[in-house]
């Protein structure tokens, strides 16, 4: 009978991801609540060092699936290997982090096993063995309690930050390599090396103060207002994705999961709703100020100071005050 929790440990660019430790913490918490144990699985080629690191956590076992076809990530290779890991471990629950890599292959695993992947979960609640998962919908404006209606294996991916990396409990696990048939899988991708775009003139990660602008600014003609505020605060200008998508500011000003991660002393979010993909890039800033006309905007959940109001009235007033 299916039993236990299987945690996916992700390697990206040759390194274990930070989110892996969050997944381990999440998987351990789920296992503890269900009175069972957790295993981890990693997929790649040449995994010994990574496996040894994961094996220092409180896990029943660390499984590795290694093959030269898995040296570089492909959805075909990783989906096939993950199905093999699930067959081997026969878990009740499978835990992933909601990373771009997982988003790319885990749905294939779900479809192959005809199961749900309950994605982007921020919290789990266990009552009498019944697991309820909390997902954000409408870009973080509403939460939904979600349950899984199928038999094992039931799959979950946790949102970045749902569990703390340092919550992963230490222990000592054995490492076991499992046999794989991935050699016979048709890999339909030719993948090139990963790369970063040439960095712009400004590295925002070093900026002490940032004024960041979102879609609330309405049009690029209004950007002057934000530039003036930045100047008055001696801050750099940054933006949410839609501003860069529209070409109003260059891509290297984008903050978030696909842009830069910043930790300035002061982060002023002007007309930004606070979607998780933006928040992961700025949540560790020192003091966060949010200016938004919607009092329920998720950005207020992280702000130290919140101003509910029209940015076209509030920002000029702040600039005036700063100049006094």
């Amino acid at each position: 009978m299916a039993n236990g929790v299987l945690i996916y440990a992700e390697i990206r660019g040759g390194e274990l991801t930070n989110a892996t430790w969050e997944s381990i913490a999440a998987g351990q918490a789920l296992a503890a609540a269900l009175g069972t144990t957790a295993k981890a699985v990693m997929i790649g080629n040449g995994l010994a060092d990574h496996a040894a690191k994961v094996a220092t956590k409180d896990l029943a076992e660390v499984l590795t699936i290694e093959h030269e076809k898995l040296a570089m990530y492909t959805p075909d290779g990783f989906a096939a290997a993950m199905v093999e890991a699930i067959r081997d471990a026969d878990p009740e629950w499978v835990v992933f982090s909601h990373s771009y890599q997982v988003r790319d292959f885990a749905p294939r695993v779900a479809a192959r096993l005809d199961r749900a992947l309950i994605g982007d979960v921020i919290k789990l609640k266990v009552e009498n063995g019944q697991v309820t998962l909390v997902r954000q919908i409408f870009q973080g404006k509403i939460n939904a309690d979600v349950t899984c209606r199928t038999d094992a294996p039931r799959m979950i991916s946790f949102q970045s930050g749902a569990y703390r990396t340092d919550a992963a409990k230490d222990g000592s696990a054995s490492v076991r390599s499992i046999a794989t048939e991935v050699g016979s899988v048709d890999i339909r991708w030719t993948a090139e090396e990963r790369f970063k775009e040439v960095k712009g003139a400004i590295d925002l990660s070093a900026a002490p103060r940032i004024v960041s602008v979102g879609r609330g600014i309405k049009s690029d003609e209004n950007l002057g207002l934000v530039r003036d505020l930045a100047e008055a605060l001696d801050a750099e200008v940054a933006a949410s994705r839609p501003i860069c998508d529209n070409g109003w500011l260059p891509m290297d000003r984008q903050i978030g999961s696909s842009g830069q991660t910043v930790t300035p002393q002061l982060y002023v979010a002007v007309g930004i709703s606070g979607a998780i993909q933006h928040v992961v890039g700025m949540k560790n800033s020192g003091t966060i100020v949010a200016i938004n006309k919607d009092k329920e905007a998720p950005i207020f959940d992280l702000a130290d100071f919140g101003v509910v109001g029209d940015l076209f009235e509030v920002v000029p007033a702040i600039i005036k005050k700063l100049k006094e």
Binding site: P107, A110, F300, D304, A317
Partner: protein, 260 residues
Amino acid sequence: MKIVVCIKQVPRRDDLLRINADKTWVDEASLSFEANESDTYALEEALRLKEKHGGEVVVATLGAADASKTIKEALAKGADRAIHMCDAPLVGLDAVATARSLAAAIGPESPDLIFTGLQSDDLGYGQTGVLLAEMLGLPHASIVIALETSEDGATVRAKRELENGWFQWVSMKTPALLTIQSGINKPRYASLKGIMGAKKKPVDMKTASDLGLGADALTSREAIGTLYIPVREKQTEMLEGDADTVAAALVSRLRDNGII
């Protein structure tokens, strides 16, 4: 080249969301609707490929009767025809059941390319495209931010967005499925001529039984229970009053704390 674009109609992003009385969904009566943001980029990318290679752009939408508005808009922008899956058993499906429905409608079309958005702005599963690829036995690339096609359309080279500013190009043979990220292009507006022309373009209405989908295929694997507004966990100091008052309060807080 035949390209199918999956477009979902979602509540307009600036509309105020209210949870309905039984807390199972939002109150839709007070909302207006639009095409999901990344889907509009997917449509634009398809229209550009059609301009380059010739062929046909087909819109596939699963949604209530009033999704016809979003379909019309896509036709006005230049899509050639649409498939509208509209039937009571097709309401409120999870990602797996949605993908299964889309697969049933799109499979027989045998397109060269299928585009979806990378994520819907309402349910935000971020899965439908990849599930659809698996169900149709196609390769895929997700979170695509640039796209090149070979002259004969037999291969595509897609630039994928990875985390933290990393990118990667991947190539594959068509037929293939791509999930499109916002910002890949500049979506066009419908022209007046396009709007007039859209009225004559065919929209193929499909029910669950047209698609050969029984109750089992349409059973959601995950169930949404109660909806609620998230409780704020951080002690945010909300500054209140007219603009000058809040500006003064904010600036003095920042100065007192030595931040500026």
